[in-house]
Symmetry: C2
Subunit: 504 residues, 2 copies
């Protein structure tokens, strides 16, 4: 009875969140720039209304009553897990006063909208005060959450993206990565020096890139009846399970980045599209945290699509998409060259273009800075200097006063997503661990990938991850899927195999 | 004090309505078809939330207190008018139980979504039960509203689109139109028989049509910084004043219909974009009813854009947009031929393609049927027969079992918009009356239109209509703008001048 009422209430919240998700997509993809302030106000109000629903006065009593029912064994496993998630969400939401939710939403949207032009203009002076406002509000939010959840301020933010995970765990995992990455990066760059590649010469028309992207995303299992592909400043996967909105961006002189953007986001999209239909309107039917979500996108992009097998399948489609370029330079479009192209390793400034070997360094940098920002140990004004120092230390690159390709390159902080960055690397570890588990279960996996048979591996992920949604806590889901907790050895083995042994 | 609270509350409602407007645009323009049922559920919930805000328990007391303040002369003219609008809106909303609002929203979205494919397939049998559901719910709503507003069921629905107007007034106006239209249509068709025209031969590429549309909509004053142009099944103008979403559709073999769709909707868009910025989040800052809105679109399309002066300005742009077609057939793209093309009169089945002379017949037909549907004097199953009979009588055309181009051609009833159709013809009368007033004030109006100077006439409309928003009741606004109440003589004079005297 109380559980029924809770589910009706959260169904309503899921409808409002549906609206919010599509509106955020519209804001990034469709909205004319000049409409930004009115849109920020409208979305802030919607956020307040959702927040009021999450903190509705009748909820604590309903949750208590449902917990009694659960203890008496009246709830099945899914309802019981749903109750656990509801309790968690309500607890988080109740920690924040409505006014803070609204001022945070305003500050974030203003900063995110300004970022789109200020980043291009390297306008740190214009951006910093807007970001400072976001950081101040976010510190307030972290403080309020910290008190209620009984964890540190930063961990309270991390918990939004990766429930039950802690910065102590991240510190441990990142220390393991730091132990082998610097020398591995040196070795790989040295190894690749003797293995040259041909750069395909464009132009690669936008329409052809888009068509190729649609073809390959459909091949790997994106359901185009329940989603779209569009263009935005920064690739993302938004929308809702019934209507997943994937975006990428196209560079006429380089088809690889746009294509891998599509495939990466398609990994996210397949997770959403395969969540269990009957549970989608409840918290238990949602995807299980951002590490597992990023695990899906990196499974698709890094484990599958940059591998020799997938590229063997894709090579003829790529050549066909760009008939002039491939006719002029057939060797550049051959499988061997594509493999070298799609696994190039280089120390670069830009995270989203980074290869999977140097990528964790970009994350370790951001994680360090954002923890200090939230803990009040670093001011916004000092970010460029901290960024430059971190880049020198981790990747031996100086960004100097280049904020465009330095600390302003990502939208995350502008959008208030502190605690999000570490999940990229947790996702990379998750993806490698999942792929190893898939290989154990599917002995012909590599042949299947090479011949465009993606259903077996999709079926593996559907059974082990997608259909399970949020039945378990995140780390329990990973154990359910792979037989063990998160272990960086699979990621390290994957890197050594692909980048030093020339296999995979 | 109470007025401040009311305004804060209605600001919040305007934010939620903003979200709803963009979501409805997305549903029609972007959403993949298969996501329809989930979207219907989400939008229904948003509708319920808005409805709950409109019927919030604190409102009656706040309104009473604000009325006391108004009587003591404490409110300025805009606040006083805002209070009048708030009272009206709350009264309407409070008449409907939340459950009915939700079931109506569901029924309408389901029917509208199905319509998109069923119309194409002429599938009346599939469509009728969905429409029946809408009509039943709408009758319920009309009954509830009728009791509260003290007007007939149909008038209670009409009041949503044209506040304070009645079917008795419509009956009077439509009787005047019926008195002269049939013989005028005969005369015009006879007159045009001796004035042949050349049909421009395509193809007219979609991209070129779109570019031409953007050029002309910008020329007449559409602010592209605060809006978009896209494609949908049925042209419409949606969104919000800061972000107006215009749509049209393109026919490769005929550029005229798509172009006039753009210009028509641009008339709506300019009204929205020029509403007074400080009042936009309040009811008093909204556009003043659908007749005045349609008056703006028909002013742009019929009074201005199909006239000889505008076409003289547009002709070179049209020729330039389609260089191959215009080079092959220069005479077809000359001003004289364009005037004949854009003022062709014919008895046809399709309302949206109808010329302005026969158009009122399409409206009189729909008005008669929808009144009977709401009054329970006609069942949904009997619509095709009533449609055929009406078309024979009014336009001497039989639609027989062709529902696609008969009673299923419009989305309005599927979307629950009963009481909307008459406003098209009230809008045509309004547009003619406004244009006559503009000509009195701007002696050089025709020269200005011919030379692409649209700011003087925009300024006239901005001062007389757009900036006034909902300060007055609709008929008072028309009197404010033109000096007299709605009078069909301007429309009749316009038709006789343009279609029988060969001027305008």
């Amino acid at each position: 009875m109380s559980m029924d009422q809770l589910e009706a209430h959260f169904r309503r919240i899921s409808h409002l969140s549906h609206v919010s998700a599509i509106m955020q997509w519209d804001e990034a993809v469709m909205m004319p720039h000049a409409a930004g302030s009115e849109r920020a106000a409208a979305l802030a109000t919607l956020g307040v209304v959702i927040h009021e629903h999450l903190t509705a006065p009748q909820l604590p009593e309903l949750i208590d009553a449902a917990e009694q029912a659960d203890k008496s064994g009246e709830l099945d496993a899914h309802s019981s897990a749903n109750l656990r998630e509801i309790r968690r969400i309500v607890r988080r939401a109740s920690a924040l006063p409505s006014q803070l939710v609204e001022s945070l939403s305003h500050a974030q949207l203003r900063c995110e909208q300004a970022w789109r032009t200020q980043r291009e203009a390297n306008d740190w002076q214009g951006f910093a005060p807007l970001l400072r406002e976001v950081v101040l509000r976010k510190r307030e939010a972290a403080g309020a959450l910290s008190g209620v959840l009984g964890v540190s301020a930063y961990d309270a933010l991390l918990d939004e993206y990766e429930p039950f995970f802690t910065s102590a765990q991240i510190d441990g995992l990142f220390a393991q990565l730091r132990a082998f990455l610097p020398s591995l990066i040196d070795q790989v760059i040295e190894y690749q020096r003797t293995r040259p590649f041909l750069t395909p010469r464009g132009p690669f028309p936008k329409a052809s890139q888009e068509q190729l992207g649609r073809l390959l995303m459909a091949a790997v299992g994106f359901d185009a009846q329940h989603g779209r592909l569009d263009v935005s400043h920064h690739p993302f996967c938004g929308g809702v399970p019934s209507d997943v909105r994937v975006t990428t961006r196209y560079d006429k002189s380089d088809f690889m980045s746009g294509l891998m953007g599509v495939l990466h986001e398609t990994g996210h999209a397949k997770y959403e599209q395969n969540l269990p239909r009957p549970l989608r309107e409840q918290p238990v039917g949602q995807a299980r945290g951002m590490s597992m979500h990023e695990g899906q996108s990196l499974f698709q992009e890094m484990q599958v699509s940059r591998g020799r097998e997938f590229l063997s399948f894709a090579a003829p489609h790529i050549a066909q998409a760009f008939p002039d370029a491939s006719a002029a330079q057939p060797e550049a479009f051959g499988v061997n060259n594509l493999v070298r192209l799609f696994t190039r390793v280089a120390r670069t400034k830009i995270r989203v273009n980074a290869d999977e070997v140097t990528y964790p360094c970009h994350i370790i940098l951001r994680y360090g800075i954002e923890r200090k920002l939230i803990d009040g140990k670093l001011n916004v004004a000092d970010i460029p200097e901290a960024w430059d120092a971190g880049m020198r230390e981790l990747l031996n690159i100086s960004t100097g006063s280049d904020c465009k390709d330095g600390c302003m390159q990502d939208v995350h902080w502008a959008a208030g997503a502190f605690g999000y960055f570490p999940t990229y690397t947790l996702g990379a570890l998750t993806a490698a661990q999942l792929f190893a588990a898939a290989e154990r279960e599917l002995p012909n996996l590599r042949e299947q990938l090479a011949t465009g048979q993606f259903e077996p591996v999709n079926d593996f992920l559907r059974r082990k991850v997608w259909s399970v949604a949020s039945l378990y806590e995140p780390q329990a889901l990973l154990e359910h899927a792979t037989g063990e907790p998160l272990n960086p050895k699979y990621f390290e083995a994957h890197l050594r195999k692909r980048y030093l042994n020339g296999t995979r």
